[in-house]
């Protein structure tokens, strides 16, 4: 859950670079004005970056606290609820429904709703534990802008690459 996620033009630019997207609508306000949306919008998967604004997000080091990634050598710090891969599970599915597209200046908040959980055996990674969560993103006018459904999976062991 995120109380406040301010959508910023600089963040959109950096995000577009990181997915390799050169579309000027993410970079250039003057160009963006000439497009149908009439201004900069965020790429469709940008809302995932709300993690940056999540208090105590478990996949971001917290200053002054132990981190499960390595220094020169592994730290041996265990992460809660880590799966057999030791990385805390993998992302299995992600789905978005767009009620409108995000723009710089939007200020979002999100509400999480638990979804279903299920298990399945897999040859490549042993027992798989799936869990679903629904996240609704509301804007500064309390309008629902994006509904996200995410499925995570904890594997019994690392996924065999054979």
């Amino acid at each position: 859950m995120v109380d406040r996620f301010p959508v910023e033009a600089g963040h959109i630019m950096l995000f577009a670079r990181s997915i390799g997207d050169t579309n000027d609508i993410y970079y250039d306000e003057d160009y963006a004005k000439t497009t149908e949306p009439g201004g900069i919008i965020a790429p469709p998967t940008f809302v995932q970056a709300s993690a940056q604004w999540e208090e105590g997000y478990s996949l971001r080091p917290t200053i002054g606290e132990p981190w499960f990634g390595s220094g020169k050598e592994p730290t041996g710090v265990k992460r809660e609820s880590s799966g057999g891969g030791g990385g805390g599970g993998l992302h299995a599915e992600q789905h978005y429904e767009y009620h409108r597209h995000l723009r710089p200046g939007d200020v979002l908040r999100s509400v999480n709703k638990p979804g279903e959980t299920w298990e399945r055996e897999s040859k490549r990674a042993g027992k798989l534990k799936f869990s679903e969560s629904i996240t609704e993103y509301y804007d500064q006018n309390d309008e629902l802008v994006i509904t996200a459904r995410s499925v995570g999976v904890q594997t019994e062991r690392p996924v065999d690459q054979g």
């Binding site: 963040h11 950096l14 995000f15 670079r17 990181s18 997915i19 390799g20 997207d21 579309n23 609508i25 497009t35 149908e36 949306p37 919008i41 790429p43 469709p44 998967t45 995932q48 970056a49 709300s50 993690a51 940056q52 604004w53 999540e54 997000y57 996949l59 971001r60 080091p61 499960f68 990634g69 390595s70 020169k72 050598e73 592994p74 891969g85 030791g86 990385g87 805390g88 993998l90 992302h91 299995a92 599915e93 992600q94 789905h95 978005y96 429904e97 767009y98 597209h101 459904r149 062991r157 690392p158 996924v159 690459q161």
Partner: protein, 140 residues
């Protein structure tokens, strides 16, 4: 440029290379922008010695984001109403990813023309990494 219902047909495809020899640096960039700093994506020591994988690998969301570029390049800016994927295989440094966006259905709902698309991204070995679907508003 938005798609027009009158100018597309079921089976039409848009194919685009969305990552060419994916670099570890781009994966680090994605960690930095998305806020997902899981060491599996940037920390070779952790990923090989602790997690048991052959090397760091890309965030699923990086492959979804890169694939999304092919979708928006096809349907136009601000036109997507739905986009969802399953992550069917991991993406590794050095992978070259090609996305295929195909027209599955062209329909009308409450007077709005829509296109339903299938989305599939494969690596240089032809192994599918992302599989999903999308829906976009299109012009008549």
């Amino acid at each position: 440029m938005a798609l027009k219902a009158s100018e597309i047909k079921v089976g039409d495809e848009h194919v685009e290379v969305v990552a060419d020899n994916l670099t570890r640096t781009q994966i680090v960039q994605y960690a930095g922008t998305s806020g997902d700093y899981n060491p599996l994506h940037s920390d070779e020591v952790f990923t090989t010695k602790v997690a048991g994988y052959p090397s760091v690998f890309a965030h699923g969301m990086l492959s979804m984001g890169a694939t999304g570029m092919a979708v928006t390049n096809y349907v136009g800016d601000g036109r997507l109403t739905k986009y969802g994927v399953r992550f069917v295989n991991q993406v590794w440094p050095g992978d070259t990813l090609t996305a295929t966006v195909a027209v599955e259905e062209i329909r009308e709902e409450d007077g709005q023309h829509l296109v339903d698309l299938t989305v599939s991204t494969s690596n240089q070995d032809g192994r599918e990494v992302v599989r999903g679907s999308a829906t976009a508003r299109i012009d008549p």
